[in-house]
Amino acid sequence: MTLYILRRIFGFLVTLLIAAAVIFFLLDLLPGDPARFILGINATPEAVAALRLQMGLDDPAIVRFGNWLFGMLRGDFGLSQTQKLPVAGLIADRMAVTLPLTIFAMVISVVIGLPLGILAARHRGKIIDTGLMILAQTGVAIPNFWFGMLLTLLFAVTLRWLPPGGFTPWNEDAWASLRGLVLPSLALALPQAAILARVMRTALVDVSSQDFIRTARAKGMTFGEALWRHGVRNALLPVLTILGLQFAFLVAGTIIVENVFYLPGLGKLIYTAIMERDLVLVRSATIILVLVVSFTMLVVDLAYGFVDPRIRERRA
């Protein structure tokens, strides 16, 4: 088991390193001189040269890459070129919105999706299954940001239960912050819940035709009991993979959904950075996103090993 964990962590670090290299060298291809960009067109060549030296821009690319990596390890992501503030702080501020949003959405989609999937599989072929799957089929097809608009129309504009957008910082009024995240999390979660319900149902139906379910029934269980005792745990294996991918998708999805609700999250920051060509900020924000995504994959892999004794011992 230790071996399995070590190997996964090693793979995670390698992926991260290559990802960092891809991001760094891709953005490094861009023409233009950041120093001149910062100082403006009227700066003297001497001033530009001095700033270049100070920013380490004259070093070879590989050295700058190394510096960037080691900086990040110390928590130093560099200075934003346009806002002249430490990038780490900017990103951390925005993450205070994006991360809770992602986690809420994840929890909601699991709490709704998995039980409905199990319910549908339990009654497969019956009317309840058909109904749930039509619902899921629709849910899968709804773009989350558009769903956000619909939710705003209903709950914020018509019913006036919740704020239509904006965000109160956590330290001012945590209750208001929470209320501000309800609709965005729902918008993100429901299409995901539909996917989860479908995957859960498919996995469970698949498992239910396996021999060990028949064995459990032969022991004296009804189909439902056998499915619950032996099926769900086995069906969770494929579902875990999807959960990992979904978390990644949700992180990316927040960037889009933030727009609907005017939330000051990571997406807004990145969009501004792109428009203002703030490379340091884009670079750091993307590597953070990649980090979160790969870390989720790592957690899923480890969870797999935890659930399935065969994987713990698998060679190769």
Partner: protein, 282 residues
């Protein structure tokens, strides 16, 4: 597989017909739309649906039906190109990983891990920073995202097939590994790939909408369903119809594609019934 047996799968027929209807409308927009989409007229803006403008007009007085026809074309084109990129690169990679073990497989798997770590939005961000936003940006971002999906599907399918004796028989007959992949593996995983293709197409259409909505995809004066939603963003509290219409179009197209995909899976290969959807979360 003949046409008659296709008809036994009502889902496939319904899904394909609905998809074909939208595709035809989209293609029609190349030669004809009720009104030119660049036709701006403040005088007739915010018209409600009626005999003159079936779906009303937007804040610039453009005909919504024309916009949706043209936007659907963009959405389909972006989604389809992204599938072509994904399958075109991913399937050969997956096959290579399946037939050559050792270093080739290792490289493909690591590449696939790496690509999975970059959600389409992140790729789009990088490309937008490099070359600026645009529809081709969305194609590349979604396409790259599709690559590891197809690679995994192709590799998984090919590995399952390659344990069968007819592959060993082909090796005995002196076929080279690429020949075996072409003659024996590819035809037997084709249905898997087609089914995955429909899933990725519908995901691509959703992703294009998202990217255009945040301004990283299609740019004006071209239009796409996502861009229409972006334009309607600031107005949707007052004029909900402007966002309802394109949104519903996306939902219906994606549902049609998914139904067609499910039907196709059942019709082509009943064994796949319980698989699929595995990559839907991307």
């Amino acid at each position: 597989m003949n046409w008659r047996s296709l008809l036994k799968h009502p889902g496939l027929v319904i899904g394909l017909s609905a998809t074909a209807l939208f595709a035809l409308l989209a293609l029609l927009s190349l030669v004809w739309t009720p009104y030119p989409i660049a036709d701006i007229s403040i005088a007739r803006r915010f018209a409600t649906p009626g005999p003159e403008h079936w779906l009303g007009t937007d804040q610039l007085g453009r005909d919504m039906l024309s916009l949706i026809m043209s936007g659907t074309l963009t959405s389909f084109t972006v989604g389809a190109m992204a599938v072509l990129i994904g399958a075109g690169i991913g399937v050969p990679l997956g096959l290579a990983a399946a037939i050559y073990d050792g270093p080739v497989e290792w490289v493909v798997l690591r590449f696939s891990d790496l690509a999975f770590a970059f959600p389409a939005v992140v790729i789009a961000i990088l490309i937008a920073t490099l070359v600026g936003p645009g529809a081709s940006n969305a194609v590349i971002a979604i396409g790259i995202f599709n690559v590891p999906v197809f690679a995994q599907v192709a590799r998984g399918g090919a590995l399952a097939i390659s344990t069968l004796d007819f592959v060993a028989a082909a090796r005995l007959a002196g076929l080279s590994k690429p020949m075996i992949a072409l003659r024996h593996l590819l035809p037997n995983i084709a249905s898997l790939i087609i089914v995955q293709g429909t899933i990725q197409l519908s995901l691509g259409i959703l992703a294009e909408a998202g990217l255009s909505y945040i301004g990283l995809g299609t740019q004006p004066p071209a239009t796409s369903l996502g861009l229409m939603l972006r334009d309607a963003q600031s107005l949707f509290l007052i004029h909900p119809w402007l966002s309802l219409a394109p949104g519903l179009a996306i939902v219906v197209i994606v549902i049609a594609l998914n139904i067609a995909g499910d039907g196709l899976r059942d019709a082509l290969d009943p064994r796949l019934r319980n698989r699929g959807l595995a990559n839907v979360a991307g």
